[in-house]
């Protein structure tokens, strides 16, 4: 069974979607102009098996974030078939559900419930999260009194300690000071060694080189290359340094 399966998936956005003026709505209803679609993801197919660590690379605007939104079920694909089995924990944006006026503890609980945890389970995991973040003394203080670094540490601790079946990492592999960064990387490798599926996205090849076995290269919404991490990264770097040489096939 595949944990993630995409079959000819496309996702388009309308360029005019950002404008919400009455005249835009009216002209669209009347059919005067259909805003031109913009394909963020075009005919992408791939499968991820349980336990695989897959990295996605590509320049800014290549469709990496859109791909993650599709995989986490935030938005349905426009065309094609997409299947995800198992609970996906997204590290999409660290601490996106955090609110500065809630205490550290309240934020952890809120985040856990947003990610779909039962209350009992969240309370059991709470100790691990706090231990990992090393923020025991300040958990009952409002988050606004935390430094940026402390904030990131807490967010990261929540994400990696919630025991997801699929861990999704968007750019951020490690946060905090040097010592804490090493701890983060260690934790991610620990998750990998437990046989969990990891789906990591980055524009920097270095970040995923060590972690991933397999890599997908996205360019302008299309899947250019899918294969062994080393080979794909090699080709990607060759393309980045001399874009003219690479022919899109």
């Amino acid at each position: 069974m595949n944990i993630i399966e995409l079959d000819n998936v496309s996702k388009s956005f309308h360029r005019a979607a950002g404008r919400q003026l009455l005249r835009n709505h009216v002209s669209r209803w009347l059919g005067y102009k259909t805003p031109e679609p913009f394909f963020a993801i075009k005919n992408v197919s791939f499968k991820v098996k349980p336990g695989e660590t897959v990295g996605v690379i590509g320049a800014n605007g290549a469709g990496k974030s859109t791909l993650l939104s599709l995989v986490t079920g935030l938005t349905p694909p426009c065309k094609g078939r997409l299947e995800v089995n198992g609970r996906v924990a997204a590290l999409l944006e660290l601490g996106c559900g955090f609110h500065p006026d809630l205490t550290g503890r309240e934020n952890v609980m809120l985040n856990a419930s947003l990610l779909g945890f039962k209350r009992k389970r969240a309370e059991d995991l709470y100790e691990n999260i706090v231990d990992f973040s090393e923020l025991q003394d300040v958990m009952d203080e409002p988050l606004r009194t935390f430094s940026t670094g402390m904030n990131m540490r807490l967010a990261f601790s929540v994400a990696v300690n919630l025991d997801p079946e699929v861990l999704i990492i968007d750019e951020v592999l490690a946060v905090g000071d040097r010592a804490f960064q090493e701890k983060c990387v260690e934790k991610i490798f620990e998750i990998k060694n437990q046989g969990k599926t990891i789906f990591a996205v980055s524009h920097a090849a270095g970040a995923i080189q060590h972690l991933c076995d397999r890599a997908l290269w996205l360019d302008h919404g299309e899947l250019v290359m899918d294969g062994n991490c080393r080979e794909v990264l090699h080709a990607y770097e060759g393309h980045v340094t001399s874009p003219g040489k690479h022919k899109h096939s």
Binding site: A17, G73, L74, V88, G97, H99, L110, L114
Partner: protein, 254 residues
């Protein structure tokens, strides 16, 4: 995709909304008492001293029966309408069931509502109206208003994503409602031909029920109750349906 713990999530979302509202406020929850008390005082002054009106004894309680349901509608509907936009970060990053966001926004106002209902009951007794058996209707009629407000909020919060002017439409409607809900006038002075239509407004129906129960010590009219129930539950079901259709493209528009 998301099969988590709805109660736990809703509880955390409500705590969040509630805490955010009262951050750094020295009076905190007392605001929910102060606002209806001041309005009650002003309306009582205007309608007993400036426009003398002897039809209603205990005019203060009479007004309060209108103000408490209206206040809830006003605050909960307003904050619920912008809730999706205000939580855009969540909607774009976490696959939580979207319905939770506006419903939590409405329910987080229930703490105020509880305090205001308590104020209303205390005022009722203080003005010499005793507790009677018909008070048993109170939980039902209040629950129906909450269901109704959840329903309209689902609709307007979804529209607010696509048409950002929705919040102003809601604000204006709330101002209009102050006059169209019998807050400072009684039901009996409404001309006969409008009365039936009036009762289809769940907030107006609730005000009528409250006055029946608290001031006249009788159970609400069956027809009014039926209309209140039909419109409230109907609004919720339709609202849920519309929201379900519209939520699929939230991501693209936020």
């Amino acid at each position: 995709m998301w099969n988590g713990d709805y109660i736990f999530l809703l509880r955390n979302m409500i705590v969040k909304d509630f805490k955010i509202r009262y951050r750094n406020m020295s009076l905190g929850v007392f605001w929910s008492l102060l606002n209806p008390l001041v309005m009650m005082g002003v309306l009582t002054f205007v309608f007993t001293r400036i426009f003398p009106n002897n039809q209603h004894k205990d005019f203060a309680v009479f007004v309060l029966c209108g103000l408490v349901p209206y206040n809830f509608l006003s605050v909960a509907w307003n904050s619920g309408t912008t809730s999706i936009m205000n939580n855009a970060g969540l909607i774009k990053r976490v696959p939580v069931p979207r319905e939770v966001v506006p419903i939590a926004a409405v329910l987080s106002n229930c703490v105020h509502l509880g305090i205001q209902i308590l104020l209303l009951l205390v005022a009722t007794i203080a003005f010499g109206n005793g507790i009677n058996i018909h008070w048993l209707w109170l939980p039902l009629v209040w629950a129906l208003e909450i269901v109704f407000v959840c329903g309209i909020t689902l609709v307007t919060s979804a529209f607010d994503v696509y048409i950002r002017d929705m919040r102003y439409v809601v604000e204006s409607s709330i101002t209009v409602m102050f006059w169209l809900v019998p807050i400072f006038y009684g039901f009996e002075i409404i001309p006969q031909q409008y009365r039936d239509v009036y009762q289809f407004n769940p907030v107006a129906a609730l005000v009528l029920c409250l006055r029946n129960i608290l001031l006249e010590a009788r159970s609400p009219n069956a027809e009014t109750l039926l209309k209140l129930m039909l419109v409230s539950v109907g609004t919720f079901i339709i609202g849920w349906g519309i929201f379900g259709k519209m939520k699929q493209r939230f991501f693209d528009y936020l």
